[in-house]
C-alpha cells in the first residue's frame, strides 16, 4: 500500500500549528524578554549609536573571520606526497581541524595527533610524541611527517626538535624518515600564519640547496581552498611548456575518486621535487600575506628571483601570464591568449549587471584583495572591505588599490575587525551585495543583503571548491558566481512585476 503520508522534516514540520502552539506554551517557562523588548533592542542594534558602541570594544571578538595557526599548517602539510599531518597537542584540536576541512571540502582529511592530557601538562608532551609517532608510523607508513603544535604544547614550551631527535633514538620512527615540524601557537596570527609557518619549515628542513640553479620555476599557491586552482596553475604551466614545481599541492588528496577503495595518500608534491626546490631559478607566489616567511626564505636563503602575484581578475591574470613568460623566457602561448579573449568576452557580456551595484567584501587578506580588484574591473562599487587577520601593510595596499578605481573611492577598509562590526556597517551604510564565506549568511539573515559565496569555509554549498578562481578560466567562474547571483536576485526582486524579464 502506497500511503499518502507526506514526511515533513524540520523545514516544514515546525511550521505546523501544533508546534507553533508548543513554542508558545514553552515561552511561559522560558522567562524570555517580551516581543516588544526584543523588537526595540533589534532596532537599536541597527543604529549609529550601536555601531559606535560596537566599534569601541577593545577586548571581545564576535564572529571573526579567522581560525588558528595549526589549521593552516595542516593544509600546507597535506599537499606533499605521502605526508601525514600530525598535531602535537590536545586531541580536540585535531578533531576540530579535521571536521572544519571535511565540512568544507566534503572529503576526508587525515591527520593524527598525540592526545596530550593533564599529565603531559605537568611532565611535558615528549612521551605522547614518542608513542604517537610510533603508532602513526606503524599504521600509515608515511614518507614524511609534518608536525605542528596546538596551544597546549606551546604554552608548556615543548621542544619539537628535541622530541623528534629522541623519538628517532628510541626507535619510534626510522632514523632516516623525514620529519618536518613547525611551532604554530594558536595565540599568534591566524590560519594563514600557520600555513606560512608550516610551509617555510617544510621547505627549509627538506630543501637541499645546491650551487647551480635549474631552468625551472617554483609555484606556491598558498592557503587557497579552491583545489581546482592547483590544477589550473599546472595547466597554465603546461601550456607554457615549462619545467616547474608546485610546492604543496593538495588537489589530488582532496579530490580522490570514490571507487570502493579509500586511499589516505593521493598525489601531492613529490618529496624529490620538494628537496630540489631551492635549486629552481625563480618562484612565483600566488598569495602574499599567507606566505611572508616563505617569501623571505626563497629570496634570501635560496637566492631566487621572486614574484608575488594575486592572480584573480583581468590584471591579476595578466600579471601571472607575464610573470611566467618573463621568468622562463617563453612567449605567451596562443591558447592562453585565446583564453584571455574569451574571458574578456565574457566580461563584456555581463558587466552591465555588475556596474553600479555596490559590494561589501570579507574574508582572508589575499583573497579579498584579488576579489575587490576584480569587482572594480567589472564596474562594481566597493563599500566595505573587512578582514580579521590583516595587518597595516595590507590595509595600506588595499587603500592604494581602491584609489586606482573610481569605484573604490568611497570604500572603507578594516584590517582587524570581525563580522559583528560588519553587521553594524551593513545596517548603517548598506551595500547591494556581500561577498564572503558561509558564515556571512548570518549577515544576510540579519540585513537582507544577498550573499555571493566566495571564500573559506563554504559549508552550505556543494562543489564550489572544485572550480578555479585564478587566471582567465578561473575568472569566468568568479564572474559566473557574481553575475548569476545578481540575476537570481533580480528575478526574486521582480517576480510578479512587469520587469520579470525572460531575457537578461
Amino acid at each position: 500500500m502506497e500511503n499518502k503520508t507526506k514526511i515533513k522534516d524540520h523545514m516544514d514540520l515546525f511550521e505546523e500549528k501544533s508546534f507553533q502552539e508548543t513554542f508558545q506554551k514553552k515561552k511561559v517557562y522560558e522567562n524570555a524578554p517580551s516581543e516588544k523588548e526584543v523588537e526595540e533592542t533589534l532596532m537599536w542594534t541597527k543604529t549609529e549609536e550601536y555601531k559606535k558602541l560596537n566599534f569601541e570594544r577593545k577586548a571581545v571578538v564576535i564572529n571573526p573571520l579567522k581560525a588558528c595557526q595549526p589549521l593552516g599548517s595542516l593544509y600546507a602539510a597535506i599537499g606533499f606526497e605521502k605526508t601525514l599531518p600530525y598535531v602535537h597537542g590536545s586531541q580536540g584540536c585535531a578533531a576540530y581541524f579535521r571536521s572544519h576541512f571535511v565540512r568544507h571540502f566534503k572529503e576526508p582529511f587525515p591527520a593524527t595527533c598525540d592526545s596530550m592530557t593533564e599529565d603531559a601538562a605537568v611532565f611535558g608532551g615528549h612521551n605522547n610524541m614518542y608513542v604517537g609517532l610510533e603508532n602513526s608510523y606503524k599504521l600509515y607508513k608515511p614518507d614524511m611527517f609534518a608536525i605542528c603544535t596546538s596551544c597546549m604544547a606551546e604554552v608548556i614550551g615543548d621542544d619539537l626538535n628535541n622530541f623528534i631527535k629522541n623519538a628517532r633514538e628510541k626507535g619510534s620512527i626510522p632514523e632516516d624518515l623525514p620529519v618536518t615540524y613547525a611551532h604554530t601557537p594558536s595565540f599568534v596570527g591566524s590560519h594563514i600564519t600557520g600555513y606560512d609557518n608550516m610551509l617555510v619549515n617544510i621547505l627549509s628542513q627538506m630543501g637541499e640547496v645546491k650551487e647551480e640553479k635549474k631552468d625551472r620555476i617554483n609555484i606556491i599557491v598558498g592557503f587557497d581552498t579552491y583545489t581546482e586552482n592547483f590544477q589550473e596553475i599546472k595547466r597554465i604551466c603546461n601550456l607554457f611548456d615549462i619545467d616547474y614545481i608546485l610546492l604543496s599541492d593538495p588537489s589530488d588528496v582532496l579530490n580522490s575518486p570514490t571507487d570502493g577503495d579509500y586511499r589516505m595518500f593521493y598525489g601531492g608534491t613529490p618529496l624529490s621535487d620538494l628537496k630540489d626546490a631551492p635549486n629552481s631559478k625563480s618562484t612565483i607566489l600566488l598569495q602574499k600575506y599567507s606566505l611572508q616567511k616563505t617569501a623571505a626564505l626563497i629570496e634570501k636563503e635560496w637566492n631566487q628571483k621572486l614574484k608575488i602575484i594575486n592572480p584573480v581578475g583581468i590584471k591579476g591574470s595578466d600579471e601571472l601570464t607575464m610573470a611566467i613568460s618573463e621568468l622562463t623566457g617563453k612567449d605567451v602561448p596562443a591558447e592562453l591568449e585565446k583564453e584571455r579573449g574569451q574571458f574578456i568576452d565574457a566580461i563584456g557580456d555581463s558587466y552591465y549587471w555588475v556596474h553600479g551595484k555596490s559590494f561589501s567584501l570579507n574574508g582572508d587578506p589575499d583573497q579579498v584583495y584579488g576579489l575587490t580588484r576584480f569587482v572594480m574591473e567589472l564596474g562594481g562599487d566597493i563599500k566595505h572591505v573587512l578582514v580579521t587577520n590583516g595587518n597595516k601593510k595590507w590595509k595600506k595596499e588595499m587603500e592604494e588599490l581602491l584609489e586606482e578605481f573610481p569605484q573604490g573611492r568611497d570604500a572603507a577598509v578594516y584590517h582587524n575587525k570581525d563580522m559583528w562590526h560588519f553587521r553594524s556597517l551593513l545596517f548603517t551604510e548598506p551595500s547591494d551585495y556581500i561577498i564572503g564565506n558561509s558564515y556571512a549568511k548570518y549577515l544576510t539573515q540579519d540585513t537582507g543583503i544577498p550573499l555571493i559565496r566566495i571564500g573559506f569555509p563554504l559549508f552550505d554549498r556543494h562543489h564550489l571548491h572544485r572550480y578555479s578562481t585564478i587566471g582567465y578560466k578561473g575568472g569566468i567562474n568568479v564572474l559566473n558566481w557574481i553575475v548569476n547571483t545578481i540575476l537570481d536576485e533580480t528575478d526574486r526582486k521582480t517576480i510578479g512585476t512587469r520587469s520579470f524579464d525572460l531575457i537578461r
Partner: protein, 498 residues
Amino acid sequence: MSSRTKEELENLIEETIDIYPEKTKKDRKKHIQVMGVEGDQKCTSMVSNKKTKPGVMTMRGCAYAGSKGVVWGPVKDVINISHGPVGCGQFSWGARRNYVNGTTGIDTFPMQVTSDFQEKDIVFGGDKKLSIIIDELETLFPLSKGIVIQSECPVGLIGDDIEAVAKKKKEEYKKPIIPVRCEGFRGVSQSLGHHLANDSIRDHIYEKDVKGTSIKETSYNVALIGDYNIGGDAWASRKILQDMGLNVIGQSTGDSTINEIANTSKAKLILVHCYRSMNYIARYIEEKYGVPWLEFNFFGPTQIYKSMRKIAERFDNNIKEKTEYLINNVYKEKTDQITDKFKVRLEHKKIMLVVGGLRPRHTIPAFNDLGADVVLAGYEFAHGDDYQRTEEYLKHATLIVDDMTEHEMDKFLKTYKPDMFGSGIKEKYQTQKAGIAFRQMHSWDYSGPYHGVDGYAVFARDIDMTVNGHVWKNITPPWKSCSTETCEGPNCNCANDK
C-alpha cells in the same frame, strides 16, 4: 548474511589489532569485545573512558567540545565566551544544529564570542581581558540572561583565576556569570566536558539559588533533560509528552533558557534522554530536591511506546489512559504506515554505528523497527554504565568497540561491508570513498528531527535514502567486475555475470 559467530568475531579482533605496536595492541584489545551472546559474560569487562593512545587518529574531541559544544552551547539566552585563542570557538560555531527559536544576537546567542588570546594574554594572563569582555558583552547584548566562560587549554596552564573574575562580575551585573574549567587537555574525551558543565550548572544555578520563575504547581509537571534539539529533536519529544497530558516546565539544554534549567528542580519527574551527558545533574537534583528521574528512549515506535508507558506508569490513571489512547488511536497508525512503507526497503540491511555515548544503543531498536540489523556498534566516549545499558538492545553476537580508531574503522568497513555506516563528519567521506553509504548520526546529516513519532518518519526516510541510494550501485565501472563480496548482484552496474 547470517550474523557472525563469537569465534569469528574474536578472530576478527585479533586480525584487526595485529598491526599495532605491542603496548597499543594490548590496550586496544581491552576496548573491543563481542557482546550480546546469551549466557556469556556481561559487558562489565569492557574498558572505557580511558586515554586514547597517541597517534591512532581517534574520532574523539575534548572537554571544551563537551562543555561548550554539547551542554552549554544550546542554552540560548546565555552568551558562551570561548575563552582562549580563536580556533576552538570558530570550529564549534554553528556546527551542531541544536535548533533554537529566537533572534540571534538579541535574545539568543548562537554566535562565536571569543577572547581571541594573543601572546600577551598568555604571558600576562587573561583575567583583565575577561573582565573587559564581560563589560562589553553587557553593553552590546543587554537582553542576555547570563554569561558562561568556556576555558580553552591555555587558561588552565597559565594560572588565570576566572572564578574570581566571574564572581566579581556576577555581583556587579546581578546575573549568572559562570566559569567552566573545561580546558581541552582535561580528561580523555568530550565526556569530562559534559560532567564539568553539569557541575557548573549545579554550582551556579541550583547551589546559588537561581530561582527560576514561579511555576503553577501540578502533579503533571515534568522536565526534559539531555535532549539537545538536534534538527528539532526536543520539540518532537516535547510534543509527545504534552499530548500525554504532561506539562514540560523545563527543557535542557536544547532550545533551553537558564530559567528552564532552574525550573528542572521543580518538576515531579525528570525525564533523561541522553543519560551520558546529563545523568550527573539528574542525580544531583534527586539528592538535593528529591525529584526522581527516569531514562527514556524516543527513537523508533517500539521504544517510543515502551517509554511512553514507562513514563505514564509514574502518573495517575488519567495520564495512563490518555497514553494508551494516544498510542493505539493516534500514533500507531502513523508509525505503522512508516514501517510498512520502509521496512520492505530496509529488511536485513546491515548497519554499523559509532557515535558519542548514547545513540548507538538508543537507535538499534529503531533500526530493528525498520527491519535493519546493527552488526557493529561503538561509542566514542561511553563509560561502563553505557556498555551495561547496551546489553539489552543486542539480539545476537555483536562487535562492540570503544573509541574506535581510524584503522579499525577501515578494517571493519572492509570486513562487514555494511549497507550503511552511521558516525560523524570526519568519518563520512572516507566511508563513501570505500563505496559504503553513510549517515552522520551526530547532526542527522542536516536533517531531523529523529526523536518521537514525527522524527521516526524522517529517520526512516533518511535511512532509506542512504542505504538505497542509486549511486552506491555504481561504484564499479560497468567494464570492470566487482569482487564477489562487494557485488550488489542484479542491482549492480558492474560487469559481473549475473
